[in-house]
């Protein structure tokens, strides 16, 4: 796209429009009914083409497009999710916060249906209307219940047009509201008793499915009824376990975000490795040296590491020497750790005295800098 987009965060299908077009043009495999791409092309869209360029027509000229990897982690999980969406069951991605569940859901919807914007956001206040449909009351009063007066929900539209509907944070909804989905998922049909004739029934078109996400570690989530569970395939998304992969991902994201914020501070790989190592230690509760530490109650996700990197980078750009260093990391780490309880600060300090001090002596380098920056910790 030539002109810069006027929206803050365009949906996946716009961000990666060229890649989707390249895949659609070169996809020779069979597509399930209602799908924009074949399952293999969907996988390539998410896991990348390993640097290989696809030749296709794009905005009037021939070009080669390389498909980038957009989801880092478990490839077999992506495959299971794609196959699951092609079956007659809905898909639920579960996992700790910040494991890119929503990103994966957005990418899957964009690749399969060409649109990822049919989203219901689950909250404690979500009502049945938001899942099914509601009414434009002015029209309802004027005309009575007609299809013109009906305000469709994202799910309604997805059924009608054969698209993947996304349901974010489904377990935040009260169980009775969640259960609205039971009949929709098993019958693939919605009854609109207020309307008459053929409009009384809305049948799902091929390509319709529901892709939900849920957190397992968050506070304030509800149980799911077994009736609903039976209609879903569950896939667990885990945090990235591989240090190198996570370092690469965090670094790329931090650099991109800093560039977008017009604060292109220098982000060295070693600093990011320091940050990610600290996150992995605190996340798992054990370090590669075998030291056991107390895990903070906050979830130390990759997304959180990116956000610490980003704020530390901004700090370095505006108040430092324009180079992200251990001092900035130390300054912004507490904000990420200390969200749920004040004890987490103690746990972070414990981490500094047990692990960071030790590495400062043994590994030196940035760890020594981080140990010196300990005075940046509050309290």
């Amino acid at each position: 796209m030539a002109d810069p987009s006027p929206v803050l965060r365009p949906p996946a299908e716009d961000r990666h429009a060229a890649e989707l077009a390249a895949l659609a043009a070169t996809d020779s495999e069979e597509r399930p009914p209602g799908w924009n791409l074949s399952p293999r092309a969907v996988r390539t869209f998410i896991c990348g083409s390993d640097g290989e360029g696809l030749t296709h027509e794009w905005q009037g000229s021939r070009r080669k497009t390389v498909i980038t990897r957009k989801f880092h982690g478990d490839d077999p999980l992506v495959e299971r999710a794609i196959i699951g969406l092609g079956s007659n069951r809905a898909l639920l991605l579960v996992g700790e916060p910040g494991t890119a569940k929503s990103l994966l859901s957005e990418l899957l919807a964009a690749a399969i249906s060409g649109t990822s914007v049919h989203v219901v956001q689950g909250t404690a206040a979500t009502t049945e209307d938001q899942i099914r449909y509601s009414w434009n009351y002015a029209l309802l009063l004027a005309e009575g219940p007609t299809s013109r007066a009906l305000v469709p929900s994202p799910l309604y539209l997805a059924m009608k047009h054969g698209l993947v509907a996304r349901f974010e944070e489904i377990t935040r909804c009260p169980p009775e509201v969640q259960d609205t989905l039971v009949s929709i998922l098993s019958e693939k049909m919605m009854t609109i008793p207020e309307l008459e004739g053929s409009e009384r029934l809305l049948f799902g078109r091929p390509g319709f499915n529901v892709l939900a996400t849920a957190n397992v570690r968050d506070r304030g989530v509800h149980e799911m009824s077994s009736a609903l569970k039976r209609r879903f395939n569950f896939e667990t998304v885990h945090p990235i376990g591989n240090l190198d992969a996570e370092v690469e991902l965090v670094r790329a994201e931090v650099v991109r975000l800093l560039a977008e914020a017009a604060a292109p501070a220098e982000v060295g790989r070693d600093v990011v490795e320091l940050l990610v190592s600290a996150f992995q230690d605190l996340r798992t509760g054990t370090t590669p040296e075998g030291i056991t530490i107390e895990r903070p109650s906050t979830v130390m996700s990759t997304a959180e590491a990116v956000s610490v990197g980003m704020s530390a980078g901004l700090d370095a750009w505006y108040y430092g020497n324009k180079r992200l260093g251990a001092r900035e990391v130390a300054r912004h780490l507490p904000g990420a750790v200390m969200k749920e309880s004040r004890d987490d600060l103690q746990r972070l300090k414990q981490y500094f005295s047990v692990v960071v001090e030790r590495r400062a002596k043994e590994v030196r380098g940035l760890w020594a800098e981080l140990a010196r920056a300990r005075r940046e910790l509050p309290g």
């Binding site: 399952p39 293999r40 896991c47 390993d50 490839d75 077999p76 495959e79 299971r80 794609i82 196959i83 699951g84 092609g86 079956s87 069951r89 579960v94 996992g95 397992v216 077994s226 569970k229 039976r230 879903f232 395939n233 569950f234 896939e235 667990t236 885990h238």
Partner: protein, 780 residues
Amino acid sequence: VTPPPELSPGAALDLDARVVYLPVRHHSPACAFHVERVISAVRPTAVLIEGPRDATPLLEHLVHPDARPPVAIYTAFVDRRAEGLPRRHGAYYPLCDYSPELAAIRAARAVGAAARFIDLTYPEMVLAERKGEGEETPGLRNLQEEMYLRRSRLLAAACRRAAARDSDDLWDCLFEHDFRHRAPAEFFAGVWAWCALARADYTSEMLAAEIHDVREPAMRAEIDEAAATGRVVVVTGGFHAVALPATTARRPPVATLARPEDASVTLMRYGFVQLDSLNGYASGMPSPEFYQRLWEDRDPLELMVALGRDLREHHGAPSAADASAAAAHARALARFRRHGVPTREDFLDAVRSVFIKGADDVEGVAVLAAARKLLAGERVGAVPPSAGRPPLVLDFERVAESLRLSLEVGQAREVPLDLYRSALHRAKSRFLHRLRLLGVPYGHWLRGPDYVEGADLDRVQELWKVQWQPATEARLVEESRYGATVEEAATAHLLEQMREAERGDGRADAAARLLLAACRAGLHRQAPALLDLTVVLIAGDPSFRSVMRAALELDLLRVSREPLEAHHLVGLEEAVRAAWERATGLVPGLTATAEEEEGAALDALCSWSALVASLPDPALAAQQRAQALQALAAAEGNPVLLGAAAGLLFDDGDLPGAEIARRLAGRLAAGGPPGARFLRGLLRTARSVCWREPGVVEAVHRTLRELSEPGFIESLPHLRLAFADLTPRECDRVAALVGAESGPVLRAGEAVTEAALLLGLRVDRLVGEILGADFGASDA
């Protein structure tokens, strides 16, 4: 992928060549399938297989109609090169229906070719190993270990590129899913490339460390010899196959055996449970039942239905619809991944997607465990009677029959044994205890006097649950490296444990426990040596508790001579005395006892004091006790033990009550926990001091009155422990004394409700506060 030129197959895979090298992976149905096809097509004069040469005579039993895989060749070697006890090694070579090696043996028989094993014998392997300082050969291992799968960095990189989870997954995706539709030459070229890749990052040091530099020239020598007389097909692990064509023949050094029975090769029945590499027997491929079905060309997804039923029975979910959805999911995944039939990971992926309702590391754990168990299967093989059995198994059966113990498969039987009255029962008990020493699953000890732990000694009967299981025989075969009879093997085990006790941290109680275990298992011949060892260790053991435990064990053996048949053990009483005296020497050092160990030290001190009565010349012992206690009581250190020493002295009349009261008052006056801890030790050893010496209660009472609130809270746990030893009647007695001192006391049984008591306390506190507010200022 193209392998490096020095490892390219060249003519080796040419099916018209004089020598055809077939690279295989152990327990691979695909390899087995193609090995059979090649041998049937080539019709060679000889089929040479990687496996211990001295196991070749077993081949006829392997193709016997009564043989039913899985079976294993078990080979043992007793290494007597080093000083002292011999080192005993054992190794397995498992074979199942889909083992390429077994397929080769069967195919050779069908075409009339001579089949032979060509690898080093197990003793030759052990002797060829060059071990560095501190490295030791494991006692038990698998001859089909495929170390390269874990070591190769190139294979690891290939897995990452192909998005395979591990080398097993990658292997399945490359070779297992569609092997029936490939030509043998093309198939083996692929395996060759795989193995060449894996071998490419091995250095010559790594090859030497795994003694490939001895094994491969030896195998090559056998190949050359066979090739002189006709066409040959060589079936070896792919890791060797890629190197053998370029290897120079060299015979291995001859292994000389100290005794002919030091090396043995046996055929034994084996089970899928042991074959499953996920059970820690790292070799071959995991999930044997899954691959057995692949081999039999049955749909592996039948297992999905079985899994659904299994989960429904045990967890209430999933529904039958789930099982068919999971099967459909596995098929769709296999199609998507371009697999001919669903691979093991396709199967497990479908289980993950459909059967797990929740997070895979929470709700999924039980589901995946059930799936893995089902994929492993429970098949147990059979060996033809003609194959012979190791002497240890025969001895076991002979002894069990003569003792009228059941050797039938089926229900477990409870066997009560009267240790005091029946010699036959004692013989049974010893036999079962020997098997326990060997770790053979046969008799399960339910209850009875436990002489080693010193528990339930008032019982006169032992109760066992006896049941023969396939694992009984498997373990006996494994243990056959320890000897030809149950007694011999149990003795060898005992000696090894004795050596460990000697080499270990020099704790006397470990040796004493072994002595009891030996007597219990009827290994009395070792008893004198164990007693000597115990006495030697006692002399050097610096731990009061360990020495005391040894003394008690020895004393227990002394009093339990009858059921343990230790009449002939000379020097037992002297050893008890020596242990007690050593402990006496350690008593003054108890002042340094750490707080977390004081409970155990207190117990040991009490048993030390009580043991005096049963020693020879108790009067002298009592004198020694008094001296040691005086030294302990007069020292400074852990107050609990000082209190305990004072109490013991009081009990013997060596310390007047008034002196006790004076010491207690002094310690309590210092405030804080040490005083309360002294009291705890005191009351543990001499509760009667409470009512026999009025000064004691008085001192406690005064301190409680004077203690500040935080001081009281700090001492409270210790005070609670101190008085916990009193019996209810004694509590009453002390309470009466306290009451006499402080005014009226409520007696048990007097009608005061809890509410009234609480109200009284509240009034008391409020009045106190008001008085405090009124007079507090002027006090300050």
